[in-house]
Each structure stands twice: as C-alpha cells, then as structure tokens.
Amino acid sequence: MSSTFDQVATIIAETCDIPRDTITPESHAIDDLGIDSLDFLDIAFAIDKAFGIKLPLEKWTQEVNDGKATTEQYFVLKNLSARIDELVAAKSA
C-alpha cells in the first residue's frame, strides 16, 4: 500500500502534468510546483475522492490570510500528507 505522500504526489503529477520525479515531500505545492489556487481545486477534488475526506481549504486559506498559519503548514507536501492522515484518522475515529 502506497504512502499518503505517494498517493498525493501521483495525484498532483497526473492532475497538473508535473513530472512525478520532481515532486518530493519537501515540495511546496505553490512555491515549488507552481500550482495555483484553481488547479489546487482539482487536486483537492482528487484527494477528497481518494481518501474519502473533505480538505478544509477555506479554513486553511482563512488561517493563512489571518496570519495564524503559514502556507508551508498546509502546502508543503509532507505537511499536507500529515493533514490528510489526520483527517482520515478523525473520520474513522
């Protein structure tokens, strides 16, 4: 069974036509991979479907805009993967 990061990286590669081998756990979806907010909706859709969750994009965006969080916390892929794991765990709890 592939890791959450592997699944996310594959989704990003396929959704945004980015070479899979350029996507690492340290990659920042926005700053490094150049994914914009609209493209990220497609990624969020694919992640929601793959993991059976609902990424709280609005909440995250609000936190970043309010200075309560950084984009790194949500959009560096290892952190995004950790958030997904948390959401999956919360759902099955």
Partner: protein, 155 residues
Amino acid sequence: MQLEYFQLIDRITDLNLVKQTITVEAQVPQHNTIFEGHFPGYPIMPGVLLIESMAQTSGWLLLALMKFERMPFLAAVKEAKMRGFVSPGELLTVQASILHEGSGYAMTEAKVSVGGKLRSNATITFSHVPFPNQDLRGHMDAVARRIGLPQAVVP
C-alpha cells in the same frame, strides 16, 4: 431567456435537494441580434451560451443547497461537448447534479437536451463565497422568485 441580461434560465421544473439535482427549461428566442452574427444565414446558439446555461442551472442548485448563504461563481469548465446544434426557438431542458461538494468549491455535471436529445454536456467547477453584498443577494432572491425556485428554499 433574456440574452441581453445574460439570464438564460426561464423556469425551474424540478429541484431535489436530497438527490442534489435540478431541471430547468430555457426557451431560445426566435430572434436575437446574436443570431445575426452567429451565423449569417445559419443561426445557431453559441456553444458558450449553452455552457452558460449549464453553469446557471448548476448555480441555482448550489444556491438552494447552500440555503442562499453563499454565492457560487464559475471557476472552471471541463469536458464541455457541443453534441448538436441548437437553433432559434428551441426549448432547452437543462439538468445538473452535484459531482462533489468541497470546502469553498463544488463541482457539477450538467447537460442540455432538446426534445430528449442531448445537445451539450460539461463538468463545471464553482468557487463559492458568502454573498459579497445585499444588492446581489436581493437580485438573486428576485430572480429566484421569477424562475420558480420553491420559496421554502429561499430563507
């Protein structure tokens, strides 16, 4: 259909909030300046307007599902297919259903039919935000009444 005001939907004929589906009708006008240019001697409804009709239909479904607390805005159109011409005077049946409800966005699948024959379909993405002002909210309420959105749906 009031093309000059970009209001493509005439009436809602079915709205099912449980199944998350909507069906509307839209009468293509017999005469409109759009048809003078699209195309001279061979008037057909522009494909972008068929897409807009699907977007507006989807939008009404989303408005109803979100209890008019948020306004959906068109964000992306995928897999839009124009499967047949639509001519002046034809009655469109436009249907939409929810493909996915995300956080701050939603995706729908929509189709346009004439006389039971599919003419166009698309997958559409919307971002949605709280109503930016009361003017827009009031306008949407008024249009909702005009096109027959069940009043129980409008808070």
